[in-house]
Amino acid sequence: MMSISSFYRSSVGCKVVMALTGLGLVGFLCAHLAGNLLVFKGPEAMNHYARSLRDYLPILWVLRVGLVGMFMLHIASAIRLTQLNRKARPVEYAKKKNVQSTISSRTMMLSGTVVLSFVLYHLAHLTFRWTHPEFQELGDFDVYQMLVMSFHSPYVAFFYCLSILLLMSHLHHGIVSLFQSLGLYHGGLQLVIRMAGAGLSVLLAAGFLSIPTAIFCGWIGL
C-alpha cells in the first residue's frame, strides 16, 4: 500500500482527497438543509431540532471535528492544486477560447472562495454571534428567531443568496467531478451522475434560497 503522504503528494491522490472531502461536505449540506427547512414547520420544530442535537453531544463533536477536518483538507487541497496548476502554465495565451468547458468548472476557486467567506461569516454570525452581539440576548436555542431576524437585513440576505448561487455553481461541477476523480464516472453511470449532479445542486440551492424568499414574502415571520 502506498503511504498516505505519497498518495496525497501525487496530483491524482490529492484530487481523490478533494473528491472524498467534497462528497462529505455535500452530505453535510443535505443534512444542514434538512434541518433548516424545519423553519417552515414553525419555531417549535426548529428550536426543538437545535436543542435535540445537543442531546448527542459526543456524536455532535465527532461530526463537528470531522466536518472542520474535511473542510480544511478540501481547502488545503484546493490551494495546493491551484498553485500546481498556476506553475504548470507560466506563460498565458494571448488568445484563448474554451470549447466545451463550463464556466462553473473554470471558476471553482472563485466560487469556492466566496462560499468559504460566507461560511466564515455564517459562523461568526450565528454560531459565535460576534457580528450580531444582540443575538447573545436570545435564548441558547432560539435558532428560529435568529434566522428570521438575520434575513431582515438586506445585506445579509444578498450575501447569502449570492453565496448560495455560487455554491450551486460549485456543486454543479463538483458533484460530477468528484465521481470522475474517484474513477466512478463511466459507462452507463455517466448520465445518471450528470443528472444527479445537476439535480442535487439545483435542489440544494432552491432549498437554501427558499428560506430568505419566504421571509422576504412574509410567509414566515416572527
Binding site: M1, R9, S10, K15, N85, R89, V176, F179, G183
Partner: protein
C-alpha cells in the same frame, strides 16, 4: 483570399518572445493551414528574414508532430482535426488569425512555435509498456480478448501524443494523454499484469514533469484530434486508486 496572422516569435528557449503580425495575401481556400504557413515562410526567405519555425511531419493527421494554438483553440476550429489537416476554407477572407505555441511548463518553447514535448516520452519511459522481451511470447491467439475490450483499448490507443490536451487545459494537465495510455493497456489482459505499477509510475513521472492537475473541465476532450474520451481519465483514477490501496 487573404488573412492577417499574429504569430508568436521567439528566437530561442531563453530569449523573450512576442507576437508579430504578418499579412498572408494570395491564399487559396484549398490550402492546408501548414501550406499557408509554408507560403508565408517562402515570402520571408525571399526577403531575407527568418521564416517561422513550426513542427510538422506526416501532414496527414497521424504522427502528432504538428501543434499550434490557432485563435485560442488547440489545432484550430475544426473538430477532431490536427493542424495539418485543417484547411484555409475554415477561415473567413480577411480574418485575423492568432498562432501560438503550446503553453506549458512541461513543454518549453524551443523556437517560435516549436516546443519540446519530451516530457511525454519520459512518462512513457516510466511505465507505458508491457515488460516483455522479444521472443518467447505465447501464440497471439492464446488469450482470447473480448471484441468490446479490444475496441475500447483501440479507442484509447488512438492517441497520437500531440499534446493538444495539455495545451487546451487551463491547468496544462497531461491527464488525457497519460490516461489514454494507461487505459489502452489496462483494458487488455497483457497489460493488466503490471497495471498497478504502471499507473503509479506514470502518474509520478507526470507530476515530476510539472504538468498541472486535472480539474475535470473536459476541455482536453473537445480539442483531441483523435476524440479520446475523458472516461479514460476516470479509468486512470480508478487504476491509481486501486494501485494505492493494494497490499503489494
Amino acid at each position: 483570399m487573404k488573412v492577417r496572422l499574429h504569430v508568436w516569435r521567439q528566437p530561442s528557449s531563453n530569449a523573450p518572445g512576442k507576437m508579430v503580425q504578418y499579412d498572408a495575401p494570395n491564399i487559396s481556400p484549398a490550402m492546408s493551414f501548414l501550406e499557408m504557413l509554408d507560403l508565408v515562410n517562402e515570402g520571408l526567405v525571399e526577403k531575407g528574414e527568418e521564416p517561422i519555425a513550426f513542427d510538422h511531419d506526416c501532414r496527414e493527421g497521424i504522427c502528432g508532430t504538428c501543434s499550434l494554438m490557432i485563435n485560442g483553440v488547440a489545432h484550430g476550429p475544426s473538430e477532431a482535426t490536427t493542424t495539418c489537416q485543417l484547411h484555409m476554407r475554415s477561415f473567413r477572407d480577411g480574418e485575423d488569425i492568432y498562432i501560438e505555441p503550446w503553453r506549458a511548463q512541461a513543454f518549453p518553447v524551443l523556437r517560435d512555435l516549436v516546443t519540446d514535448r519530451s516530457s511525454f516520452d519520459r512518462i512513457m519511459q516510466a511505465g507505458g509498456f508491457v515488460s516483455v522481451n522479444t521472443g518467447g511470447v505465447p501464440d497471439a491467439n492464446a488469450i482470447p480478448i473480448s471484441k468490446v475490450d479490444a475496441d475500447s483499448a483501440m479507442d484509447a490507443a488512438a492517441c497520437i501524443g500531440c499534446g493538444a490536451c495539455v495545451a487546451a487545459c487551463k491547468n496544462a494537465s497531461a491527464m488525457l494523454f497519460v490516461s489514454a495510455k494507461v487505459s489502452h493497456l489496462a483494458l487488455l489482459p497483457q497489460g493488466q499484469v503490471e497495471g498497478s505499477m504502471r499507473a503509479k509510475a506514470m502518474v509520478a513521472q507526470m507530476d515530476q514533469e510539472g504538468f498541472g492537475a486535472c480539474t475535470n473541465t473536459k476541455e482536453c476532450e473537445a480539442v483531441c484530434p483523435k476524440e479520446i474520451s475523458v472516461s479514460s481519465i476516470a479509468r486512470l483514477n480508478r487504476e491509481f486508486l486501486k494501485a494505492s490501496v493494494e497490499s503489494r
